[in-house]
Subunit: 431 residues, 2 copies
Amino acid sequence: MDVDIGNALGTTPGVTTGVLDRLDDRVADAHETITDGMANDAFGYAALNLPETADPDAIRSAVDRYDDPEAVLTVGIGGSALGAATLANALDSEVDAYFLDNVDPDQARRLLAELPLSETVVNVVSNSGTTAETLANFLVVREAMDRADVDWTDRTFVTTGGEGNLRRLAEKHDLPALDVPAGVPGRFSVLSTVGLAVAALQGHDVEAILRGGADGRENLSGSLYDSPAYAYGAVSYALARRGATTNAMMPYAESLETFAEWFAQLWAESLGKDGVGQTPVRALGATDQHSQLQLYRAGPREKLVTLLRPRERADVSIPETDLEGLSYLGGSSLGELLDAEFEATEASLAAAERPNVRIEIDRVDERSLGELLYGMEAACVLYGELDGVETFTQPAVEWGKKAARGLLGGGEFEEAEAVSDKRELVVSGGR
Amino acid sequence: MDVDIGNALGTTPGVTTGVLDRLDDRVADAHETITDGMANDAFGYAALNLPETADPDAIRSAVDRYDDPEAVLTVGIGGSALGAATLANALDSEVDAYFLDNVDPDQARRLLAELPLSETVVNVVSNSGTTAETLANFLVVREAMDRADVDWTDRTFVTTGGEGNLRRLAEKHDLPALDVPAGVPGRFSVLSTVGLAVAALQGHDVEAILRGGADGRENLSGSLYDSPAYAYGAVSYALARRGATTNAMMPYAESLETFAEWFAQLWAESLGKDGVGQTPVRALGATDQHSQLQLYRAGPREKLVTLLRPRERADVSIPETDLEGLSYLGGSSLGELLDAEFEATEASLAAAERPNVRIEIDRVDERSLGELLYGMEAACVLYGELDGVETFTQPAVEWGKKAARGLLGGGEFEEAEAVSDKRELVVSGGR
């Protein structure tokens, strides 16, 4: 993975080499904190050890019993789904991967109508084992399997922590159970059982993913000039402090669209606290040039645009044509067109003095994905150190969970009462 | 459509009733400009007349010749695809809708492998008739149909303006051609041939969509207190001026996920200019509560959160269970859980004094969608009037288009030369 921060110099907002040099001293300190945390397997930092501590054999022994499934359905939400979905949507496989990651009756109904339940493996994922959305969905899926005369205990495994409803379910019904590693928050768990079980079921090279992560780990160092992950984290932080409160993550590859979702969770939930943080915006090149680029180039100067692309891709030629005005496309390829658009967008932003960063990976394969995912996690941890926030917690999520639980009659919570205090000013369309 | 702006009062940033009352005078003036524009079918404003001017019969007569297709493939990008995709992904149909809306070789290859080409109708959409991405994709699709021994001229229709390559193609091969109405920018074209042809092919009630749009049109008035669309546009504008430079559009319905994409284009491309605008953030409830909510509640105070839901949905019961700790869910439903999460999130943001607006539609059906889409367009036009921008143009997109075209050898453009001037500061992962 290469990170090119040249287009963050001299832009507005922007950095200078002087800013970067001074920041680099703080990067050295932060790196010490990070390596200490890693050495102690401290909460959160433990995630950065996963390339070494994850156990591909344990993952495979849990999933190898499922002989040639047609599909795998992951029931999970947030960090329990996004890592696996990122890998699944990036890499081709004969085994289809589905995700039930909301509590939308429409989504559940459509999915259950589509899935070949007797040929589907179900993976229920919740670290706490108590996530209401995930367990409610699981109850719906289990009933559908019962109705379809499929023995759900034969087709279901769980990925969970040491306690909770899900662990008890696995024990009661003797289900295969993968352990969520201790000290790894959901949004940092892609390189663990949480992200890799589905990849193994889909026949992807789990060792290569971890090898990519290990490459990323080796590239961490005490200077942003030597570590692409830190270069990205440090520049993002410095730009945010100078007004770039949003960060548009714009991969130029459809297969990396879910990666942008994964990044958005990582960035938002880790760094958005105490009134600081950087709002991640999920974008997609080249499509969003026809949607978002006007804003990125000419809107408020509160934005970093991160342009991500693979250096190699299997290409598709554009046929020659006799259509007037299109002859310049014939003989070219979709990939060349996409690369031209990438470079044009980058130059267009630079010409308007809008900061942008280029990230390149070799290609969309297991190893490069492992390196990319690890690199973004390390970038995020560094950013959190520089900004002095608690990167690995998510305290603001709890309030809403309690309110929802109270509303559903799952206990007495004062938060639920606030819902009825809502201030209304309704403008109605009537009819 | 109802818009509840109560939770934008007294928040930070926020408005007061005094602010709204003063703003309402400007809304009256803006409404006069808008109605004048509509009366003259002026550029852009003409889009707000589409509920009356669109011709469902012309659309149906173009597409009715395709007898019982399995699928429809739209080749288009930006506004030429997003409106149709919004309707297609919101409404169930026996006819599958696909979109080739990027120039990614991966996407093209996967799609062409999946599509039953002999049973697919291809809809090529470009207002100018010259969009490079769309025409390159079309050439690839046409070649695939040739190879599959499918007569592409039998299965292809175009939606385009009066001139350009696409119009000439239609004339040369006697293809059915739908006209893009004059004066309607792509991002405002969902209620025209551009958005409705696919809906007609999928068997949706096109008249009902337009009736919903007409409902929205009737609800426009000289006061934000009487018009839900203007209430939304005015409050978004007032909040943006007070620091809410981002707007997270968060539907609580999977079927409206693409609507958030459509909204993002409308908002970004119309309002993001002259250094102002509001960055649209695409979110999804309840999933993003486990991803973005931490940031929305505790990050920088630069955000409006728009919570959107249907009041009615076909529900799915959650089965009773003997699992300890989950008994509170049994007997409830996924829809009830989703609504509880919606209200909990809304209250959670309000308790943290973060502005949020609630939009409710009756249900996800043709009429309500028409009203919602029209309402957001009118909100956007009003916002543009209040902010004094050229809502209907997108000048900043042109630069990049020229650069890309120059890079591909499609002519001499000085913009292309800027690409080679790129300032580099590469931190490499090596290996």
